[in-house]
């Protein structure tokens, strides 16, 4: 009897201990995408979604082309169909057309798509056509886990219009096997008289990139280069320029606007801070790989992720691609904050301040909303909640091409990357620390989110690309951009731009 009792207790205890695992296995058997974690309990877990019945209903989604964001959208749509019985139609659209593909029907009073993917900086133009995220989801534990920055990026003056599915910021990626290599450090010191270390200023970045440009420094028989950057006109290049500008132009002692002076709405874009950044960028055309001035984001990811360059900066994707199992440089890369500068422009005193400055750029990223006129809003929000549930999110983070990056506080646990992705602990720690420090910084820059944002960013792309191509000097190019910005402000209406910009400035000045 005693033996029986002991056996029974052991069986019950085992069942209790391993029940979450058995529960997880049930779903990971059916959906191998989440095999690393199994289902993770939550409001929109696989278990919860399987209890919903959307049979006979159709959800229409417009998303980006495969793979970046397009692939996870389609994958989670398929899973959602299996779990709920819904029919999900996914349309894939190139990045440059996402805005207009939603905007044209929005303005015509139609809703051909229930769910529209785009970028977080569309929020001002799109918000009047999107349904606010319902309280039910706002109060969910998953939403409570979203970082303050990304809650801000997805919201407009306290109301969330974009469901967080991705978190973006620009940071520095470097070849750890070179920068931390004692032999390389010795050689660099001997040749330049300077220390080889993770660059903390853009000038150091440029010096090192130039030194490591055009020779085979990793012994693979191929030439390597200094830096891979997004320089192709209109292909997100303006964001790369802002990343280089924040160090020189975001002064924590002069609140009240990075892009404009909020009081006067006079553009800051042609002040000496931005001009210095563009001058550095023009110099960078000398240390990018051949054709590097025509690199879009995909090229940058392929170039750095494929081991072609020493440095890169911009979104997470190049880093994640470099750390994937099939990468030739897995566990040979490091993450660090964007370089800073030894001087920063003070737009109030109209002079340089000779002190070190660094500012994180919480760049715009993927965002998604539900059309106000959608007839299946509940299902649409359930889909988005399911898209970013714990299990899907962790699995998506591990796949560089998916374009899903950390945006939850729990994402900054290095063990996720060590245990489920096989990252070197030191690299995982530096990666999560880099991201977390950006969240904590008080000198952050957020994307421009004003009416007609595309006109402003398009003007920056045109001006800076003229400077990179040698058609204009950096000062001439940015003077042209400033003139265009003034014209846009006047067309849109100073008050409308000012009111919208004030919301972004509040975030930058840590008042929101």
């Amino acid at each position: 009897m005693k033996i029986m009792k002991t056996c029974l207790t052991a069986i019950i205890s085992s069942l209790m201990i391993f029940s979450p695992m058995a529960y997880a296995d049930k779903w990971s058997d059916q959906f191998p995408h989440i095999k690393a974690t199994g289902d993770i309990p939550g409001d929109c877990s696989y278990e919860k979604m399987s209890k919903k019945n959307y049979k006979g209903k159709t959800l229409k989604i417009n998303t980006h082309a495969i793979p970046v964001m397009g692939e996870p959208t389609a994958l989670h749509a398929e899973q959602f169909e299996k779990l709920t019985g819904a029919k999900v139609e996914v349309t894939h659209t190139p990045a440059g057309d996402l805005y207009s593909k939603a905007m044209v029907p929005f303005q015509a009073g139609q809703a051909p798509y229930d769910v529209v993917f785009g970028f977080s900086n569309f929020i001002n133009d799109w918000k009047r056509y999107l349904a606010p995220v319902p309280k039910k989801y706002m109060n969910s534990p998953e939403m409570k886990d979203v970082t303050k920055s990304h809650m801000g990026v997805s919201s407009w003056d306290g109301t969330m219009y974009q469901y967080p599915v991705d978190g973006d910021r620009h940071y520095l990626k470097y070849r750890k096997d070179v920068i931390d290599n004692p032999e390389m450090q010795k050689k660099y010191k001997a040749d330049t008289g300077k220390e080889l270390k993770v660059p903390t200023t853009w000038k150091e970045y440029g010096e090192m990139a130039k030194y490591f440009n055009g020779w085979d420094w990793d012994g693979d028989g191929e030439k390597e280069y200094g830096s891979a950057e997004v320089m192709k006109k209109d292909d997100l290049m303006f964001a790369a320029f802002f990343s280089r500008s924040v160090a020189y132009a975001k002064n924590p002692r002069t609140p009240g606007g990075f892009f404009f002076d909020l009081e006067t709405m006079k553009p800051n874009i042609n002040n000496p801070g931005f001009v210095e950044a563009l001058t550095d960028w023009v110099e960078a055309t000398k240390y990018v790989p051949p054709g590097g001035t025509n690199f879009g984001l995909g090229d940058e990811i392929g170039s750095f992720g494929g081991g072609q360059t020493l440095f890169s900066f911009s979104w997470d994707d190049a880093f994640i691609a470099a750390m994937q199992d099939d990468s030739p440089i897995k566990n040979k890369v490091g993450a660090a904050p964007l370089p800073g500068a030894n001087k920063v422009w003070n737009r109030v005193s109209n002079s340089w301040e000779n002190q070190y400055n660094q500012a994180p750029y919480i760049v715009w990223g993927w965002a998604v909303g539900v059309a106000k006129k959608s007839k299946v809003k509940d299902m649409a929000f359930d889909y988005l909640c399911f898209f970013s549930n714990g299990a899907n999110h962790q699995a998506d983070l591990a796949i560089g091409r998916f374009g899903v990056n950390p945006f939850k506080n729990s994402d900054f646990d290095p063990n996720i990357y060590i245990n489920s992705m096989g990252w070197d602990p030191e690299i995982a720690n530096s990666y999560t620390k880099t991201l977390l420090d950006m969240e904590k910084s008080n000198n952050r820059v957020f994307p421009l989110r004003v009416p007609g944002v595309f006109e402003f960013t398009s003007a920056v792309a045109t001006g800076t690309s003229k400077a990179l191509a040698g058609q204009l000097s950096p000062q001439e190019a940015l003077d042209e951009v400033a003139k265009e910005w003034e014209a846009i402000v006047s067309r849109v209406g100073k008050k409308a731009v000012q009111d919208a910009y004030a919301v972004g400035v509040k975030m930058e000045d840590n008042k929101l």
């Binding site: 133009d125 058609q471 067309r491």
Partner: protein, 287 residues
């Protein structure tokens, strides 16, 4: 007898004409008089404001127009020369004539955007095969990043893609030529060169004019090649009118202003193509 009911039979065709041709043009004109954009959607009325801005404050539009003129005239001349040569080659009795006729048409049958992506990969300066091959000779042209060379890269892709169309029209023209003039030239002992200059070319003049005009109309809308290959860069060195209108209309969502550019562009193209057709007729047909 009352024939008035016969007009009813015109209505279906008339409706289609109004629906697909007249209405869009009228709508573009109306749109061009509005300030429709992302923050102010709707057909308000702002008079000629967009046109004034275009003519007085937008040098980029005119630069892109002159660039387009250079690109389209160059590509069409090259397409005409190469297309004529190829058509002339397979017009004669050569071996595998049918095979070559189909082969020369292949580029035209491929999807322009897909082919441009492939060309972009070919011309990729660090990863593409073209510079890999040329490195044997110690050269590595900056196909997509040099403001001058990038224009010629666009021309190469356009010529490759659309020469078959010229080839097809010219081959059809050659096949329809009467045999007698050629027999007479042969009896007179004319050499192949003289036969081409004095018989083939003049006889082909009417079809040549048609082919050139059709291709000029198409080439003046260069868009997908530029979009995929260079995005109008480096700087603005490959930006054409249609690409610029696309940026203003569908990237920046300045619909009213883009409509005014489209309509202005339409008028300019109608005038310039009419002049070109007249000049070509005068020169080639000696009318």
């Amino acid at each position: 007898m009352n024939f008035k009911h016969k007009y009813f039979f015109l209505f279906p065709g008339l409706f289609v004409l109004i629906g697909i041709l007249i209405f869009p043009i009228i709508f573009v004109v109306r749109l061009s008089l509005s300030g429709w954009n992302s923050y102010n959607p709707g057909l308000d009325y702002i008079g000629l404001e967009n046109y004034i801005r275009l003519f007085t404050d937008d040098p980029r539009f005119w630069e892109s127009f002159f660039r387009l003129s250079f690109l389209s005239v160059t590509t069409v001349i090259l397409q005409y020369v190469i297309g004529f040569a190829l058509a002339h080659m397979v017009w004669k009795d050569i071996k595998f004539k049918r095979f070559f006729r189909v082969l020369f048409l292949v580029p035209m049958m491929t999807t322009p955007v897909i082919m441009t992506v492939i060309w972009r990969t070919f011309f990729h300066e660090s990863l593409g095969p073209v510079n890999d091959l040329l490195s044997v000779f110690g050269v590595a042209p900056k196909w997509l990043t040099d403001p001058v060379i990038a224009k010629f890269t666009v021309i190469i892709v356009e010529v490759w893609q659309w020469t078959p169309f010229m080839f097809l029209l010219l081959l059809a023209g050659l096949l329809s030529l009467p045999k007698e003039p050629f027999l007479a030239a042969a009896i007179d002992g004319a050499s192949p060169v003289r036969k081409f200059i004095y018989v083939t070319f003049p006889l082909m003049a009417p079809i040549s004019i048609g082919a050139i005009i059709i291709r000029l109309i198409e080439a003046s809308k260069i868009m997908d090649t530029v979009y995929v290959l260079t995005s109008g860069g480096p700087g603005t060195s490959t930006e054409t009118s249609s690409f610029y209108i696309f940026i203003k209309g569908l990237r920046e969502f300045q619909m009213g202003y883009a409509a005014s550019m489209s309509f202005t562009y339409l008028i300019i193209m109608i005038i310039s193509l009419t002049i070109i057709a007249k000049v070509l007729t005068k020169v080639l047909l000696k009318e």
